[in-house]
C-alpha cells in the first residue's frame, strides 16, 4: 500500500503544495511535535510541568497533514491532547513550552496550562479540556467562517464521538452547510478503556451517514493520505459544499496522561503500531521521493536545534506575578 501511495505521490509531485521540499517541511513539523512531546514528558517528570499533560506522540501526521491544507487564518479547535494541534497550526514552540511551564511568556500567560491552550493569532480558537468541546468550538467558528470565506477544523478523539456534542454539532453543520472538517483522531482508546468496549458501530466514519455527511476512514499515520483527504475536504468546505468527517486511525505512543504506563494495551498491538511510526513512514517516503539522507537529516538537526532553543528560553522565563497578572473577570 505504501508503494501505490508513493506512486501517487510521485505523480502529484508537480502539483502545487505537493513537492518533496514541501513534504520535507511537513515532516519537520511532525518532528517538531515529536520532540516537543518528548521534552514535555521529560519536564513533567522533572516537576517543571504541573498537574497533568496529554502527549500526542505517534499521532503527528494527523494535525500536520490536516493543517497543511489550511490557510493561516482558517480556524482550528483542538483538545487537551493539543500540543500537536497548536504546533501544526503555527503556535510558537517557545510560547507553547512556556505555557506548559506556567510562565508569564506562555501563549496564555500561564493561565491556561497544557489542557486549555488558546492562540487566536494563529487561528487556534482553543484546546478544550472537556471531551467534545472542540467539536462545538469549531462548529461555531464555522458559522463565522461561512461569512468570511474561511474554513474551521475540529480535532477530537474516538471517545469524544460518544458525546452529545458530536451528534448535535454534526447535524447542525450539515443543516447549515457549514465549512467545517471534523477530524477524529481515532487512537482506539479513551483514557484506559478500549474503543471497542464503549463505542458501538465499530467505526466513527459511518456516523456521518446519519446526516448524509461526506466521510472517509483513513490511515492517520500516513502524512500523504491525511493531507490528500484534508485538501479535498477543505476545498469542499470552502466551496460551499458543506462539512466532512474524517476518521484518521492512529495510535498514541505514550500513555493517556502523565506517566500512565498504558499496561492495558496488548504488547503486540503496541509493537504493530510502533512499527508504523508516522515519522519513520514519512522519512522513508521522502527518500523514496528522491530526497537524500543528508537533506532529511539536516531538517532533523534544524528542528532539534529549534526545540532546544525554545525549551531553554521557556525555562529561563519568569513565572507570572499574582500582583500584576491576576487579571479581571470581565472585559471592560
Amino acid at each position: 500500500m505504501a508503494g501505490t501511495q508513493t506512486e501517487r505521490a510521485h505523480e502529484r509531485q508537480d502539483q502545487p503544495g505537493e513537492s518533496p521540499a514541501e513534504y520535507l517541511d511537513r515532516y519537520g513539523r511532525m518532528r517538531l511535535i515529536r520532540r516537543f512531546e518528548q521534552e514535555i514528558h521529560r519536564l513533567f517528570l522533572k516537576g517543571e510541568v504541573h498537574g497533568t499533560t496529554h502527549l500526542s506522540a505517534g499521532q503527528e501526521a494527523v494535525p500536520v497533514g490536516v493543517c497543511s491544507a489550511l490557510e493561516p487564518d482558517d480556524y482550528v479547535a483542538g483538545t487537551y491532547r493539543g500540543h500537536g494541534h497548536a504546533l501544526a497550526k503555527g503556535t510558537e514552540p517557545e510560547a507553547l513550552a512556556a505555557e506548559m511551564l506556567g510562565r508569564a511568556t506562555g501563549v496564555c500567560g500561564g493561565r491556561a496550562g497544557s489542557m486549555n491552550v488558546i492562540d487566536l493569532d494563529h487561528g487556534l480558537v482553543g484546546c478544550f479540556g472537556i471531551v467534545g468541546g472542540s467539536i462545538a468550538a469549531a462548529t461555531g467558528a464555522a458559522v463565522s467562517a461561512q461569512r468570511q470565506g474561511k474554513v474551521a477544523v475540529a480535532f477530537f478523539g474516538d471517545g469524544a464521538s460518544n458525546q452529545g456534542y458530536f451528534h448535535e454539532c454534526l447535524n447542525w453543520a450539515q443543516v447549515f452547510d457549514l465549512p467545517v472538517v471534523y477530524v477524529c483522531e481515532n487512537n482506539f482508546y479513551g483514557e484506559f478503556t478500549p474503543m471497542a468496549s464503549v463505542t458501538a458501530g465499530g467505526e466513527i466514519g459511518i456516523r456521518a451517514a446519519s446526516f448524509g455527511m461526506q466521510s472517509q476512514v483513513l490511515d492517520g499515520n500516513d502524512l500523504w493520505a491525511v493531507r490528500e483527504a484534508a485538501v479535498e475536504a477543505v476545498s469542499r468546505a470552502r466551496g460551499g459544499a458543506g462539512p466532512t468527517l474524517l476518521e484518521c486511525q492512529t495510535y498514541r505512543h505514550y500513555g493517556h496522561s502523565k506517566s500512565d504506563p498504558a499496561k492495558y494495551r496488548p504488547p503486540d498491538e503496541v509493537e504493530r503500531w510502533l512499527a508504523r511510526d508516522p515519522l519513520d513512514l514519512a522519512r522513508a517516503r521522502l527518500l523514496d521521493l528522491g530526497l537524500s539522507e543528508d537533506e532529511v537529516s539536516a531538517k532533523d538537526a534544524e528542528i532539534d536545534g529549534q526545540m532546544d532553543r525554545a525549551v531553554d528560553a521557556a525555562l529561563a522565563a519568569p513565572y507570572p506575578d499574582p500582583e500584576k497578572d491576576s487579571g479581571g473577570e470581565f472585559k471592560a
Binding site: 468541546g133 468550538a137 461555531g140 454539532c169 470581565f330
Partner: protein
C-alpha cells in the same frame, strides 16, 4: 406622551435595533425566526433581516451554545434564545467551560460577546420543568453576567447593553412580565450591574428581581396604607451583584427583606443578604428573606398559587415582622 411599551415588544425592538446597528449581530434559536418565538417575542425579525441574521435551529441546545461561543470568538455577536430557562442545563457546559472561561484563560486574547435569552419563572401553570429560574445555577460562575429586568423600559435598555457587552450575558425574561406595559425608555441603554431604587421609602428596604419587583411595589402600596413606608430595590443583575445600592438603602431604612422566586438555600436572596451582612452589619436592625417553598413548581392552580410569594404575602411578611396590623383588618 408616547404610548406605553409592552415587555415582549421591548425585547423584539432591542434585538431589531441592534441587528440594524451592528452587522456582527446574529439571532438564532428554536422557532424564533419564521414562527416568531413561542411567546411571540420576535415576530418579523426573520422577514426583515433575512436568514443570514435571524434563523431557526435544530432542537440542540448544546450545539446552539457551542455555535454561539465559536461564532463569538471569531467575529460575530450572537444572541440566542434557549426557549425556557428550565432547558439551560443542556447548553450549560459550553456556557460555563467555554464562554465564561475564555476571556481569562486566553490571557485576554479575546472576549465572548454573546447573549442567551430565556423565558423564566412560574405562575403560568406550566409545571415543574417549564417554570424554573436558572439564574442561581450560573450565579457562582466567574466570567458570565446575569441580567434580570422587571420593566419594559429596563428590558429594552438592558438587552441592548447585553448585546453590546463584550462578555457572555444570560438574560432572564419572566413569563408573567411579557404582557406588562410600561413607560418608554428614556435612555438608549441601561448599564448592566447597577440596581435601581424603584420606590423611595424610609421604613424598610424590599429587594427583589423580575416579577418579584412588581409584587414588591404592589406590597409597598398596601403597606403605605398601613403607615409603612417601604423602599423597593430592583437588583436587575445577579452577576455582577450590586450590593452597594442595597447598602445605601439599608443605611436609611435599617431593615431589609429580600424576596426571591426560588428556594432560600442556594438562592440569590440569601446570598445578597449575606454580602450585605458582611459589608454593613452595623446598619442592620432586622433582615429576612421571603422565598418559594422548597419543592419544584406544582402545576395545579391551587398549589402553584400557594407556592408563589405574591404582593399580599410580601406585605403580610413586612407587617408581621414590624408588628403592624393591616389597616384593613
Amino acid at each position: 406622551m408616547s404610548e406605553q411599551l409592552e415587555f415582549r415588544r421591548a425585547i423584539r425592538d432591542a434585538i431589531d435595533e441592534e441587528i440594524e446597528r451592528d452587522p456582527a449581530v446574529v439571532f438564532f434559536g428554536e422557532d424564533v425566526a419564521a414562527p416568531g418565538g413561542v411567546f411571540m417575542t420576535t415576530p418579523g425579525l426573520h422577514e426583515k433581516h433575512g436568514q443570514e441574521r435571524v434563523f431557526d435551529t435544530p432542537i440542540s441546545e448544546l450545539a446552539m451554545a457551542g455555535a454561539a461561543f465559536g461564532a463569538a470568538v471569531t467575529g460575530l455577536r450572537p444572541v440566542i434564545e434557549i426557549m425556557f430557562g428550565d432547558f439551560m442545563a443542556l447548553p450549560m457546559d459550553s456556557l460555563v467551560n467555554q464562554s465564561a472561561k475564555f476571556w481569562y484563560v486566553s490571557n485576554e486574547q479575546a472576549s465572548v460577546p454573546l447573549v442567551v435569552r430565556s423565558a423564566v419563572g412560574a405562575g403560568g401553570r406550566f409545571g415543574a420543568m417549564h417554570s424554573q429560574i436558572h439564574g442561581t445555577w450560573f450565579q457562582g460562575i466567574p466570567g458570565i453576567k446575569i441580567v434580570a429586568p422587571s420593566s419594559p423600559a429596563d428590558a429594552k435598555g438592558l438587552l441592548k447593553s447585553a448585546i453590546r457587552d463584550d462578555n457572555p450575558v444570560i438574560f432572564l425574561e419572566h413569563k408573567r412580565l411579557y404582557s406588562v406595559k410600561g413607560p418608554q425608555p428614556t435612555e438608549e441603554t441601561v448599564p448592566i450591574g447597577r440596581a435601581a431604587v424603584v420606590r423611595k421609602g424610609s421604613d424598610v428596604t424590599i429587594v427583589s428581581a423580575l416579577r418579584g419587583v412588581r409584587d414588591s411595589l404592589e406590597a409597598a402600596e398596601q403597606l403605605a396604607g398601613d403607615g409603612i413606608d417601604a423602599e423597593v430595590v430592583d437588583i436587575r443583575s445577579l452577576r455582577p451583584l450590586d450590593h452597594e445600592t442595597v447598602l445605601g438603602s439599608v443605611a436609611k431604612t435599617n431593615r431589609i427583606l429580600v424576596v426571591e422566586e426560588g428556594p432560600r438555600v442556594g438562592g440569590w436572596a440569601a446570598n445578597l443578604l449575606g454580602i450585605v451582612a458582611a459589608e454593613g452589619l452595623d446598619e442592620l436592625d432586622d433582615a429576612w428573606i421571603l422565598t418559594t417553598g422548597d419543592t419544584p413548581a406544582p402545576y395545579s392552580p391551587t398549589l402553584e398559587d400557594a407556592w408563589l410569594p405574591g404582593g399580599a404575602e410580601i406585605a403580610a411578611a413586612v407587617r408581621e415582622r414590624l408588628g403592624v396590623a393591616a389597616a384593613s383588618s
